[in-house]
Amino acid sequence: MFDAAFTALQVVISPEHFGFLFLGVAVGLFIGILPGLGGMVGMALLMPLTYGMDPVSGVAMLIGLGSVITTSDTFPSVLMGIPGSSGSQATIMDGYPLAQKGEGARVLSAAFLCSMLGGLIGALVLSLILPFAVPIVLALGTPELLMLTFLGLGMVSVLSGKNPVLGLLSTALGLALGSFGTAPTSAIYRYNLGTDYLLDGFKLTSVAIGLFAIPEFVAILSRGGAITSEKRDLGEGWMQGIRDVVRHKYLVIRHALIGSMIGFIPGLGNAIIDWVNYGVVIRFAKDKSQFGKGDIRGVIAPESANNAKEGGALIPTVLFGIPGSGSMALLLAALIIMGVEPGPDLILTRADLVYVMVWSIAIANVLGASIAFLLSGPISKLAVVPFYKIMPFILILVTMGAFQATRHIGDLFTLLLFGIVGWVMRQTGIPRAPLLIGFVLSTLVERYLWQVTSRYQFEWLTRPGVIVIGVIIVIVVGFSLFGREHESD
């Protein structure tokens, strides 16, 4: 196995393969910076190149791309409050407030370093867990997945600030809005209001950008000035960010491990990974007072996790041929096109290729973070430019990002609608994150609940995995509520 790993490293760093890896990284970084575009767009862009390509180069290129999107998507999240991709929603919660205080450089350096370390830990976990992954993935049945979605919803209690009732209402609204469109368990359409667009419900990209970006634009324009409200030299925070990561090194390891573990759950990882990690870091922090206002730990946790998940997400894709996300589905398609048939025996028959994947993740993360560091200087200057000057350009980017969801005019209406909803919520102090969590998990909760009750009736409640996750939910929710009351007292 060590021989295979060493040989794979030699192959990946050979000029030919490294060139393709670098191409993937470059495209991935570019896609990540553009709001609303994610791994699926990047994979679709590079997939035609894989026809006739040797699997090692193709794998290196596509994995390189997928590994760094969650590195560069930090730019729009932190500097503009716009979710760069679905993996950077929670980074906004503390990253953007810190940037507004003039600490954008500190946040970016911490985020890139965490992304790199998270990605490396993810690659390590992937290489260690591969031989034992089959029984683990198969042990997680639909009942356990349902409980994990409940755990995701349970994070709402942590993210609701001092008013859990408002958080609950916000979640309920998200769950309701997420139920628009095709019912996940039958061929009927709900609340499509007579329009084709809503046959498939609102699109996450447009909803997330509308909820978080539009209200911030309005706020900055009405306040006047730049994104950062304090004039500070952006350069001074770089070392501080690195010191933050060193100080919170155990946090990085903890959340990278959580990210890897959640990442290998097909269909679930992407949806909850950010918020679960953000919720966990708040839950176990002694001083919670600065979360949501600008606490660097609120950046470190999700950024460590979302890069680590790429390693985890490869497990169901390469071992079962079962992709956990749209981008993994395209990677799977490319593997098949290149003549690589995924399966549990891949680790035995193509160990070289499996380790090419592992090394590609590791090297791409180092490369991606290094390039992002280099780009940080010029890009972060955006935060001190008067906002009215860059607003037209950013608005075009944001609109294009939202429009990428289906390229239907409905995407723009969704952006506008959720922009207004987000602005009202911001003005009235109703937390927006719970709405987004409810929206993201709505379909999953309905689907899994239906399947579990159809298949197991009530018997599923006695499964050990269900009980363990249930206990964790009770601890998280109970302690959040109890802790809050205690703090109030």
Binding site: M40, M43, A44, M47, P48, Y51, L138, G141, T142, G181, T182, P184, T185, S186, A187, I188, Y189, D196, Y197, L199, D200, P266, G267, P316, F320, G321, I322, P323, G326, M328, A329, L330, L332, A333, I336, I337, E341, P342, G343, P344, D345, L346, T406, R407, H408, E446, R447, W450, Q451, S454, R455
Partner: protein, 363 residues
């Protein structure tokens, strides 16, 4: 007389050459510097997506005039969104192609609620066949295919359907064998169902032939039995084995081996009628029937060029488990057979589906 014939022949020859030159020039001019989009109504990575991307690549390479051809995802409403958009809003100038499936055509024929397109709204340019395999898990009373009647006993078999029309052949097979199915709904795609089978959450599964891969082998490793393949309809109207699965019996063969007589009745008639639709022309590329004739001509010429190119054909055959592109007369013949559901069969199928599943049809 001889002179007249000579000149007449020369005229005909010249006219033929001129026509040929004209057609190819028109073809070349028609798409010159244009942009063509292949609309993909399904999510990335699945069979239809892969097929559409392969064909988009083919049109990009072989369509005269060297237009830019790009695949574009437009998912939603089980393909309704894309179909309605192409018919109602997209330009009808030949710049929009739609990847589709036999199931979508069946939805049009059955008039599923929400679908505002008709079969006549489109011309089919090219198709590839696709069949389906059925596996039953170990421990369900079926050691070999002869034990098929045992599937009627017991508490029923859990299975997963994405929606009844996408699994229509399996629904009809279940009806003919009278197996007690307990359907779990809500699975997103074929891979989701594969995982449910591996986890032991479902007992019997229908899997498209394009997904016969590592997961299928895992089923077999765990003792599952590969019961049958849907089969394809030949020119004589017989259901024959899929060349990609020469050792697997078709459903009627498996039925006859187990029950001692071939299946009969309305369910079999409907089954025979839908197989060309969901099997022989399982995946298709469509263009609006209102597109200009020159556009259709150029697109069809590109399909012929794809089929005649050794390297491209090899890619198609490799991706489609041994099947190449279906086009020209062969395609027309398959489509004629595919669309011959009688009014009685349509009424029967609508009520058969809606009695068992929540699915709505236009009156």
């Amino acid at each position: 007389m001889r002179t007249i014939n000579f000149y007449f022949c020369r005229f005909l020859l010249l006219a033929g050459v001129a026509l040929f030159v004209n057609i190819t020039t028109v073809n070349a001019q028609f798409y010159s510097d244009k942009r063509v989009e292949v609309i993909i109504p399904t999510s990335p990575g699945g069979g239809t997506d892969l097929f559409a991307r392969l064909l988009a690549d083919g049109f990009d390479e072989f369509l005269e005039g060297n237009p830019t051809v790009i695949p574009r995802q437009m998912t939603g409403g089980g393909g309704l969104l894309a179909g309605n958009w192409v018919v109602e809003q997209a330009p009808k100038d030949g710049s929009i192609l739609l990847a589709s499936t036999g199931q979508t055509t069946l939805r049009q024929i059955l008039r599923q609620r929400g679908m505002r397109t008709e079969v006549s709204d489109f011309d089919v340019l090219v198709a590839v066949p696709m069949t389906r395999n059925v596996f039953v898990a170990a421990g369900k009373g079926v050691e070999t295919r002869i034990d098929l009647p045992n599937l009627r006993d017991g508490d029923g078999l859990y299975t997963a359907l994405i929606d009844p029309i996408s699994g229509i052949s399996f629904m009809l097979q279940a009806g003919m064998t009278d197996m007690a199915l307990r359907v779990i709904k809500g699975y997103e795609g074929g891979k989701d169902r594969d995982l449910a089978m591996l986890r032991g959450e479902i007992d019997i599964i229908q899997q498209i032939s394009l997904q016969y891969d590592a997961t299928s082998r895992l089923f077999l490793d765990r003792g599952a039995i590969h019961l049958w393949n849907d089969g394809l309809l030949d020119v004589n109207g017989n259901i024959v084995r899929d060349a990609g699965f020469p050792n697997i019996p078709t459903f009627p063969e498996a039925y006859e081996a187990a029950y001692g007589e071939p299946p009969t009745g309305m369910l079999l008639d409907v089954y025979r009628a839908i197989i060309p639709l969901v099997g022989n022309a399982g995946k298709t590329i469509l263009v609006s029937s209102q597109a200009p004739a020159e556009a259709k001509q150029a697109l069809r010429a590109a399909v012929v060029a794809m089929a005649n190119d050794v390297n491209y054909s090899a890619r198609v055959i490799d991706q489609n488990r041994g099947y190449g592109l279906l086009y020209g007369e062969e395609l027309d013949s398959a489509l004629t057979r595919a669309r011959n559901l009688s009014p009685e069969q349509i009424v029967f199928l609508r009520s058969y589906i809606s009695e068992q599943y929540e699915i709505e049809f236009e009156p």
